[in-house]
Symmetry: C2
DNA sequence: TTGTCGGCCGATCGCCGACAA
DNA sequence: TTGTCGGCGATCGGCCGACAA
């Protein structure tokens, strides 16, 4: 996966160590956060424990995306320094050292509203996104419209009809949008990241809302003055 | 899975050994046919070979169905006799010894036509199936119709509208049929087995057509007299 | 600027009898 | 007896502007 697109999808909160820098590998944190718990068998001691920290060198970083959910993750190859060899280590979040500020690219994020995610609708494009990411429309046309060619993080191409219409005027994605929503199983609360790289190529990334504490909207209690039903 | 339903779905060609009987376990045949090849490591000899046959006792039989495809398979627990212990063995087809003839139940099979499997249609119920499996219709009604409650091999309940209509009259499944076709991903050539057990409960099983040599129908060559296009 | 709604039109789904194999 | 077809009504998907937050 292209690292530029990866960073845009991961968000500014995601920090990765620079290749070659020294980091602490924290097995317990890895075991608690990883989707597939690592196997510490080869390094566990007679007492069944392994050391709490390993000093390591970040030898290589791989940028990846889940083929099903498009969620991004990084795989960091760690070389031990002065301690026993630890196992191969995927998914090491937030070990803050450096981030590439080579922003010749633009990225805009939007949280999907229920109108965006509901079937039978389009996608309301934020004005700033249309202005700074998408190619300019021919405003002489009636209505101004174009087809956008956008790649997801796997490189798969999606096309969307981008139209500027309604009173007052607004930017919308129509044809192609619902196919995308269904294919990616997007729901209200998920976020999209639209990315324009230095070559002008368009990408779209997904940040899923935490499904864990998803709360069902509830009817508010009646106002104090209202008599009980 | 209920063994009665299992046998109806497996068909009359499927033979299972009686529990307690002696059978030959044939590792190479197992390895060639099993979807997940067995691991013979613990019994392989220094030459990398394991014996061609094991005499075993069929200690227990489990009746199972693939949760995705509904295809049935059996798991036979084998106890070795006079040889080294073999590994646990799933899926041992056709070791012909016995089959339970306790047929207080009825089963009828039909291969799906393209009209059955195409969306936008119902299912033509063979006359014999309607007469011998389904509950009798009230022929005084116009048209005669009823809702059928039928369980798949996992026990999941499906409902179908069974109607007797058209000129000339015929039995059809309409409402509920296309949902079933889509959920089970049925295509023309697959077969259904309708089963009525001794209690009068209805079941439906699936036998998938071999996807391997599925051939696309081809236009026949023009008659000899026809001039070339 | 943009989230939600109702209208509306076209596409699809799915039930029907006709008809012939 | 039953496989396939065309018809057609109901439903749904999806594009639209209105309107208000």
């Amino acid at each position: 996966v292209d690292s530029q697109v990866w960073y845009a999808c991961a968000g500014t909160a995601a920090k990765l160590p620079a290749v070659g820098s020294l980091v602490w590998y924290f097995p317990q944190g890895h075991a608690e956060q990883a989707s597939s718990p690592p196997d510490f068998f080869p390094v566990s001691t007679a007492g069944g424990q392994c050391p709490a920290l390993f000093l390591c060198r970040a030898a290589a970083i791989g940028f990846h995306a889940n083929p099903d959910t498009d969620e991004v993750f990084a795989r960091i190859l760690l070389e031990p320094r002065t301690t026993l060899p630890p196992p191969f280590s995927p998914e090491q979040p937030s070990s803050s050292v450096e981030e590439p500020d080579d922003v010749g690219a633009m990225a805009v994020m939007k949280v999907l509203t229920s109108s965006d995610a509901n079937n039978g609708g389009g996608f309301s494009v934020p004005r700033f996104c249309a202005d700074s990411i998408f190619p300019p429309l021919d405003m002489a046309a009636e209505p101004p419209a174009q087809n956008l060619t956008i790649r997801d993080i796997h490189g798969k191409v999606w096309t969307f009809r981008h139209i500027y219409r309604g009173v007052p005027r607004r930017h919308l994605l129509t044809t192609g949008w619902s196919r995308f929503v269904n294919a990616k199983k997007l729901i209200a609360g998920d976020s999209l990241v639209f990315i324009k790289n230095r070559d002008g190529r368009l990408y779209v990334g997904i940040r899923r809302a935490s499904r864990f504490s998803a709360r069902v909207p509830q009817a508010p209690p009646p106002p104090a003055a209202a008599p009980p039903e």
